[in-house]
């Protein structure tokens, strides 16, 4: 049971990392990345292949993140004159297209057999402690990413990003370099997806195109939506919630009589759909909602109506 929980806990950390990436690119900068799983897969394959030919594991991880970021920035530049919807379409195509490349370029990716025997870091040295080590490592990465992102997003950079999200023209007239901000936000998001992919590949030691299907993109969008789409804490909360729903539906199926194996498998997707509909009905802004910068206590000095207007809910 412990090993199962550690496995799920590590996967949750990887989901949390993906969610953090989505909060930056979608929640803060308003750019929809429907090819999230493509960047995830790109990081996974990149690191797996590089370490296979002898690169150090840490280098593989960073290279996976860097490659994903480079592709992300390239998409941003490619779609710069188009409306935001087109970025969503382009990335959706990328996610599906990359999966087909993984499936068909057997010389590189092993096709549907995937790549097995991906080197785990320090596994021999740690033996029994290895699952604990990887669990801790994954969550440490999440904590580090969340800390760095919270610094970035609380700065004037983050404010400019949110302005781009809400109204690009206002941001441009305010003197902000809209294209650069978008590339940076999308690149950071893609880098986190790529890094998460690399973490995943070396954790499971085996990747195949089946690991990188569109469902994962949907799960992450659900996690971020559930938590409050612009909130880092919401992303972590959301990934915990999504993983709980996914895994508990696996056990719940045992208690519902008269279901075939296929029906039990679809119960997961069904539960996720119901959860999404319920969140949108009950709390469209997500559990944590919006957070705005406060002007501070001394802001309304001398204002006659200081208490007459209700404060903005956070």
């Amino acid at each position: 049971m412990t090993s199962y929980l550690l496995f799920i806990g590590t996967i949750t950390a990887i989901y949390a990392l993906l969610s953090l990436g989505l909060v930056v690119s979608w929640g803060q900068a308003g750019m929809v990345n429907l090819g999230l799983v493509g960047f995830f897969g790109l990081g996974a394959y990149c690191s797996a292949l590089l370490t296979y030919i002898g690169a150090p594991i840490g280098f593989g991880w960073l290279a996976g993140a860097a490659l994903a970021a480079a592709i992300g920035v390239a998409f941003c530049l490619l779609t710069r004159t188009l409306r935001g919807d087109y970025l969503a379409i382009v990335t959706l195509g990328f996610g599906e297209g990359l999966r087909l490349v993984e499936l068909n370029e057997r010389w590189l990716t092993g096709g549907s057999d995937g790549i097995s025997g991906i080197r785990p870091p320090l596994k021999e040295a740690l033996s029994d402690l290895y699952p604990w080590f990887y669990f801790t490592l994954a969550w440490a990465v999440v904590a580090l990413a969340a800390w760095a992102l919270s610094r970035i997003l609380a700065s004037p950079f983050g404010r400019a990003l949110r302005a781009v999200r809400d109204d690009e023209k206002v941001a441009a007239v305010a003197g902000k370099n809209v294209l650069r901000l978008k590339c940076q936000a999308f690149g950071i998001g893609a880098a986190l997806f790529g890094f998460a992919g690399a973490l995943y590949a070396h954790f499971t030691s085996y990747i195949s195109p089946d690991n990188f299907v569109i469902q994962l993109t949907i799960y992450i969008f659900l996690a971020v939506t559930a938590g409050g789409y612009s909130r880092l804490v919401g992303a972590i909360f959301g990934s915990l919630a999504v993983m709980t729903i996914l895994e508990s539906s696996r056990f719940a199926a045992e208690f519902i009589p008269g279901l075939s194996a296929v029906q039990i498998a679809s119960l997961r997707e069904f539960t996720i759909a119901v959860a999404l509909i319920m969140i949108m009905q009950l709390r469209p802004q997500g559990v944590f909602g919006l957070r705005n910068e406060r002007a501070g206590a001394n802001a309304s000095d001398g204002a006659p109506h200081a208490t007459a207007v209700p404060a903005t809910p956070n």
């Binding site: 760095a148 610094r151 970035i152 700065s155 004037p156 950079f157 983050g158 404010r159 400019a160 949110r162 302005a163 999200r165 809400d166 109204d167 023209k169 206002v170 941001a171 441009a172 007239v173 305010a174 003197g175 902000k176 370099n177 809209v178 940076q184 612009s230 919006l290 705005n292 910068e293 406060r294 002007a295 501070g296 001394n298 802001a299 309304s300 000095d301 001398g302 204002a303 006659p304 109506h305 200081a306 007459a308 207007v309 404060a311 903005t312």
Partner: protein, 256 residues
């Protein structure tokens, strides 16, 4: 005679078959308030959109303080000191009044990704200074009590005030105001007009699109009339008001 600050030469743009601007050419002098009037569809807002870089694709040239800006991006034009307001008081719906004011701070170090991540004493100092300016601006515009409200919760008049406030926080040399007093109650119109007088006194040139002739008369040192996407005539308000062409194309509709 003050010198030319904004020079528009042969500016044209068409949307489909409609020539919104049809060879508009005129200069706007610095340090004064210039009224831009003309019937609906004369191309006034389109002119603002082209000058500020938001509507690319116009032919002709625009020079601001001697620098050619007609091919530059909106942010470069804004940073050069030419900042426009929006007619419909556009806003970022998920941001507060305070955040809007802070957004317009020019050349903030903290907007670079590296200094945002690593922290930077200069960026913090700038941010603090900008914060003081924003709070001060909010007090002057009587927006201090709504600083933490989302802009979607503001009244129409408060949105217009915020529009002026944030434009000023960009430390502009010239501001393009698109009907800053439209749809606002009479008391607030007077308040906004007073603000505009103050702004001009502080050395910022104003270009004002406005349909209310009393306000044009009171605020503008010079009036430029546009019709059909072109420059029609210019002069002081009294010159314009007695101009036969203007009476026919614009004022006549209202005054006779």
């Amino acid at each position: 005679m003050t010198k030319t600050q904004l020079e528009i030469a042969d500016l044209s743009i068409h949307f489909g078959g409609i020539r919104a601007l049809d060879g508009a050419s005129f200069e706007i002098r610095s340090g004064i308030t210039t009224g831009l009037i003309g019937p609906n569809g004369a191309g006034k807002t389109t002119l603002f959109n082209c000058i500020s870089g938001l509507t690319p694709g116009a032919t002709g040239t625009v020079r601001f303080c001697g620098r050619e800006i007609s091919r530059e991006s909106p942010q470069e034009i804004s940073r050069a000191g030419l900042v426009r307001s929006f007619q419909l008081a556009r806003g970022c719906e998920n941001m507060t009044v305070f955040e809007h004011l802070m957004l317009y701070g020019p050349r903030q170090r903290g907007e670079s990704l590296v200094s945002a991540l690593l922290g930077n004493a200069e960026a913090r100092r700038q941010e603090q200074a900008l914060r003081e300016e924003a709070l001060d601006m909010a007090r002057q515009l009587k927006l201090a009590h709504v600083l933490d409200n989302l802009v979607t919760r503001l009244s129409g008049g408060q949105k217009k005030l915020l529009e002026i406030g944030r434009v000023l926080l960009a430390k502009p040399k010239m501001i393009l105001l698109d009907e800053p007093m439209a749809g606002v109650n009479p008391t607030l119109v007077q308040e906004i007009a007073d603000h505009l007088v103050e702004i001009q006194k502080s050395g910022i040139s104003i270009v004002l699109i406005e349909h209310e002739m009393e306000l044009i008369e009171r605020l503008c040192d010079e009036v430029i009339v546009m019709a059909g996407g072109r420059f029609l005539t210019r002069g002081s308000f009294s010159e314009i008001a007695t101009n036969r062409d203007v009476q026919e194309s614009y004022l006549g509709i209202r005054r006779q």
